[in-house]
Symmetry: D2
Amino acid sequence: MPKTVDFSVSDLGTCSVRSPLAFSTTAGDAIANYARNEDTILYRAPSGEEGMLEKAGPREMIYFNPAHVHAGIITCGGLCPGLNDVIRAVVRSLWNRYGVQRISGIRYGYKGFLPEHGLSIKNLDPDIVDDIHKIGGSILGSSRGGGERTSDIVDAIERMNLNMLFAIGGDGTQKGALAIADEVERRRLKVAVVGIPKTIDNDLLFVDRSFGFETAVEKASEAVTAAHAEAHSSMNGVGLVKLMGRDSGFIAVHTALATHEVNFLLIPEVRFKLEGKKGLLAQLEKRLERRNHAVIVVAEGAGQDLIVSDPSAVDASGNKRLADIGAWLRDSINSHFKARGVEVNLKYIDPSYMIRSAPACPTDSVYCERLGNNAVHAAMAGKTRVLIGVVNNEFVHLPTGLVVSRRNKVDPEGSLYRDALDATGQPVELYDSQEVDSAR
Amino acid sequence: MPKTVDFSVSDLGTCSVRSPLAFSTTAGDAIANYARNEDTILYRAPSGEEGMLEKAGPREMIYFNPAHVHAGIITCGGLCPGLNDVIRAVVRSLWNRYGVQRISGIRYGYKGFLPEHGLSIKNLDPDIVDDIHKIGGSILGSSRGGGERTSDIVDAIERMNLNMLFAIGGDGTQKGALAIADEVERRRLKVAVVGIPKTIDNDLLFVDRSFGFETAVEKASEAVTAAHAEAHSSMNGVGLVKLMGRDSGFIAVHTALATHEVNFLLIPEVRFKLEGKKGLLAQLEKRLERRNHAVIVVAEGAGQDLIVSDPSAVDASGNKRLADIGAWLRDSINSHFKARGVEVNLKYIDPSYMIRSAPACPTDSVYCERLGNNAVHAAMAGKTRVLIGVVNNEFVHLPTGLVVSRRNKVDPEGSLYRDALDATGQPVELYDSQEVDSAR
Amino acid sequence: MPKTVDFSVSDLGTCSVRSPLAFSTTAGDAIANYARNEDTILYRAPSGEEGMLEKAGPREMIYFNPAHVHAGIITCGGLCPGLNDVIRAVVRSLWNRYGVQRISGIRYGYKGFLPEHGLSIKNLDPDIVDDIHKIGGSILGSSRGGGERTSDIVDAIERMNLNMLFAIGGDGTQKGALAIADEVERRRLKVAVVGIPKTIDNDLLFVDRSFGFETAVEKASEAVTAAHAEAHSSMNGVGLVKLMGRDSGFIAVHTALATHEVNFLLIPEVRFKLEGKKGLLAQLEKRLERRNHAVIVVAEGAGQDLIVSDPSAVDASGNKRLADIGAWLRDSINSHFKARGVEVNLKYIDPSYMIRSAPACPTDSVYCERLGNNAVHAAMAGKTRVLIGVVNNEFVHLPTGLVVSRRNKVDPEGSLYRDALDATGQPVELYDSQEVDSAR
Amino acid sequence: MPKTVDFSVSDLGTCSVRSPLAFSTTAGDAIANYARNEDTILYRAPSGEEGMLEKAGPREMIYFNPAHVHAGIITCGGLCPGLNDVIRAVVRSLWNRYGVQRISGIRYGYKGFLPEHGLSIKNLDPDIVDDIHKIGGSILGSSRGGGERTSDIVDAIERMNLNMLFAIGGDGTQKGALAIADEVERRRLKVAVVGIPKTIDNDLLFVDRSFGFETAVEKASEAVTAAHAEAHSSMNGVGLVKLMGRDSGFIAVHTALATHEVNFLLIPEVRFKLEGKKGLLAQLEKRLERRNHAVIVVAEGAGQDLIVSDPSAVDASGNKRLADIGAWLRDSINSHFKARGVEVNLKYIDPSYMIRSAPACPTDSVYCERLGNNAVHAAMAGKTRVLIGVVNNEFVHLPTGLVVSRRNKVDPEGSLYRDALDATGQPVELYDSQEVDSAR
């Protein structure tokens, strides 16, 4: 039995302003329609939870008078392809569609709101954002942290007289946005806080896809193609590529499927061992004997259990930290074959920064454009504590509080991972069940 | 009330061979599972029809003994990015996963089966297909027609002793495949006929997405970016790009959203007029006065009603044919402004062949790989008269007979087209309602 | 015996201002040196002419006081990859290196100077040009003509109080620049006129290479690769690509060498015939019989002698014009094979606008950066009537008057074309000598 | 006074076979001509040495009867873009132009000749090499070393009955080729040994440009663009990119010029210091204060004098080795700012493997095609101990013995480096002369 979830979203109050957009309210007249709050779709998440989601889109009656609106935009956390596309879409939709002409980009994420950074603002208009989608990174700059300084941030929002804040960022950012929305309510301000979820790992539970993901797979595929060329051109060539994916291996899995050139795929969701007859090293040996070369893709969060027992994964202060599985694998493989007197030529590639900073590919650009437009529609209609997402190809409003910290993962028993096994040809298990059990 | 549709698929008979794939049959053991015929999902099509769809995937018990299988592959119709990826996935899945070692590519589509072409065959194995995904086109070659010669084709299938045929192609191809499957049944042959639907226009009703579509949008975006640079760098510059889309404007709409640089988007699903106060020419004039440049994207099937009244659109024998809307628009715009003594610099780009023949982008490569793998799983399990498709992110079996000739279209009242209007900023109607009515 | 040419260049007068650049004047101190007017290189042109060329580069003593300088930049004629790179380099060198802070981009070429266009100016600074090299076209806009209105232009230059004009354009542009420099001298103004020659065809006699050429070959190669995929995937597939090259076939020749996929290469410098045993049609027939597909690349200026005799190449008023060799070849080949009852699948691609408007590839970007820097050094030193060029890998000053209208051509007896013949495998002659003679 | 060098090349003996190529021997007949040994050009190297170089190209009379020829090809050393293009050109020229049908690729460089590797051979023909230029790496595989085993190699050459060996590789490879040619002569064998010099660093003295270099700059530029996006999007963002260049900084210099985004360029030819008022750290501080972000490009051979004094640069056995300047700079910069309590966000990118393994860009493909063709012409004419190179845009024969181990370097006082300083805006010296002197 699926568990029913209440996905209803908050708003600032009654919408009494007629939208300047000239959409239709009549179905069947072949003219694009306004969206209504009553338009919902039934959604069932991979977690089994289900509920009715409100469709995103422009409302006929909106909350804010565009002439009075001052909008703010921030980008937070690590880079992700498409940040500039989203900024561009928000600015253009506000300006060109609604006529909003006061748009402030807050520089370097939440920190840009903080007094010690002197409230760093960049005025935005359609001319400034015209070509930014061709450039990677964020024209606003980004940073981690700062979002926990709710009171300072809302002070700045009050001083700036912002009516809406578009927060583009991951979990921490959206948690910050939630706290800001709460504080805003406490102070009886009228500020719509709308989030656009950013996670290059594509691991948000209630969202089909996060922006930048397809670009990440595209750029990751270039790294794997390079690793394959290196491996294929050497005697016992091994190409090892570390990809992003702290908790979920979606980038790695899609890259393996996209390139068709990966022989071993290691993700956080699936255990593996180095040693033992079924372990990675033994399987790699077999592969090299048979084919002379191999390509390994490892997500950064994979195999953490293997390294935790390694004292080198403990830092000077004795704290555990996310160990560098890429370097560890490189060294382990090299040692293993050296001990056996077998020459392997391992080439290790870590393309993470080149992936994160790439401009969005067209597939992602389409998505970013639509995310930005629908975020503006939501804010103009006074929606708040809301994230814009896509489920079953429909853009929807998701309550921020529900979505934050709910992670999606690659299902080791699902069809995606099974298709990846077909593509890599690797054994279904890279460990000996007995050994693993005893090790626990 | 949605109309219920029976989506159940045919097969050749009982599966009594154990699959050589070592998947699990136990849920919860963290090992990838076989798919079962009982695994279905509820699907509701944009048409409102709904039904239960059988999930694709490897079956534990299969119909064919891999050691005896001889498989055939054909690619038909116009080029589409990803053809080689699908061929590669089918060959590798058959050979590496199931151990099938007799795989014949029939050259130049159905014509390759016909006696007058001397049964043109290319033996396929993993080495041959290793790098073909980096190359556009089809290594088997393709052609239009020939599929109606059912008897000749099945003669060839019998002579070759094929057990399965993978037909990669559009409507005509799948109709041919259906007829072949019928004839095969009549002759009591045991040949599984599995289709992989190909339509670069992405307009198949019961399928979320067709392969090659994202690549098409990517390459189309390059053409639009070129048109934009040309338009933007000239006084009264107009960039006009004709894109594919006979009956549906999905490529044009996505390209407009991807590039954020299109000012007028013309698709088959939405009427427009040249003349009149709201017509394209008047709106283009306004745009040029205000912004000095404009980019127009037109799908090849758009505005056909406008040209039909033009006698030049009738060929020598008096038959109607699909008029060249791109060239017609180019000439119409040039004449219009010339008559007004306004210099416009119109640059017309028709990138169709450069789009069709591109290698697949990674997003499409992922999809092609999975389509190919699942087509092999279906054929090995004796499924026939079946197409492989994706709905709600799940790979499924679709009965060929149901899907053929059912077209999906851009809904002018839906959110996709509405977001495109946001992106282009064009008026919701490019015609004066009264005029259009009277013209009818 | 080579003819000696006097390549000395003009200047505005004595240089009495010390350059703010901190280069060295001492050889051997491992610090980058100023260039001196005495530094020359001996150059022998393909035409056999030879002379001493003055090296470009920053002078220790310059003519203008940077604090007083107002610089103007124009881009004229058709688009060419790298225009924005050159603009960017000029602006950054003026601003960052010399401290010049009044830089005006004149919009839409010489026309931007004319009173009827209202003197359309765009102020330029490093921020504005920061990312323009990632975008094709010209941020200043471009147009043809206007350069003959010398008096009006110099009026505008006087009114604007410009001290230097950077003219980026082809022959017409540089002729205009020469006339402007003459008029400037007549009026005793102190305006340095420095040209950066632009010809995507790479056909300037005294210059090794023109900017944008390598990008043009890169983009043209994409079109040829598409044509090859189309041709290779069809029965009797013929891919026909028309490339730029009115008088010289450098783009076509390099593209044939780059792709290794061209079977017939037709350029203005080498005669060919359609008919006859050695003619293109007969050779194409042979190729199709043997290999089933063929790729033809034709430069736009090729085969004009063949079409001139065709009345359709004469326009309504009876004037000759450059005939469309691409469309003519397409039709001729189709008719030829139709008459023989042979089905050929010809795909015709004209990628010209997509080539011209591409952003510069890195090889061209390096070149544009250096052209722009050296143009600024020249203007600051009061050089005028001068073009910046490269010979034997050295940047030099060329007197504008000498270079204009001197065209370089592919030598049919030289090693470049011979290597292209090796690459295409086409016969050394595509006509029957007797027939050609009699036809004359 | 330039020192005159004798550039004459060796051959196997008199050419008595008429070439099957149908070139002309008459100048002025507009038909491509054979090249003659008498055709020479005067060349002056950057070193000041000068001499007459024999032009490459097909000879009318050749040494070998194509019907009897067995040709071998090897690729050695690290990967370089264009290896497959050269292989392809050699195979196609031999097969299609001369009719040679026995062509053996020796796998994994010289090691493929050695008995312990079992003489690993791949038969080559035009079909096999048809699309290999679209793939990076070498289809033959490559390895380091083995070339010193002259006797074993010539044994293998004798057993295989090779008549010509095409050796594609760097210094070590060409030294090996020279020794092979000597041993071949001693044994009175008739084997032409023709080298195609490979050095991605573009640092060969008597050659204008080495293949793969432009591709390397193109891919390096992508890494710098990523570093710039990262730096620009962070508070005090620093992008640090390590590029290839052991002894010469050509890749780094060209990349700085191509991207226009590098602020500090560090190459082996130019000294720099970290400490001191003019040192890198102080200059970087200034830049961050002024502009908030910076991009640094360092060639791998730069700054080795700085690290040599560091004991960590000495390995366990006490031997010096090339220290990792990239990681060292990263750590030094981070420590420096940490000590000052300044937060910098440094992102370090080492794209070397992604550069080396890229397919050749069109500019390099043109070059590789011509190198391969001319290597075949040389070998067919019995030339031996010869390298194919380009000087002043002409393909020439260079005596292997002269060229090996002669390195070209970036001249710190020349115009290339000066233009790079213009592009980066960095100070001409990154050290305090006094300090450096005293440190010595």
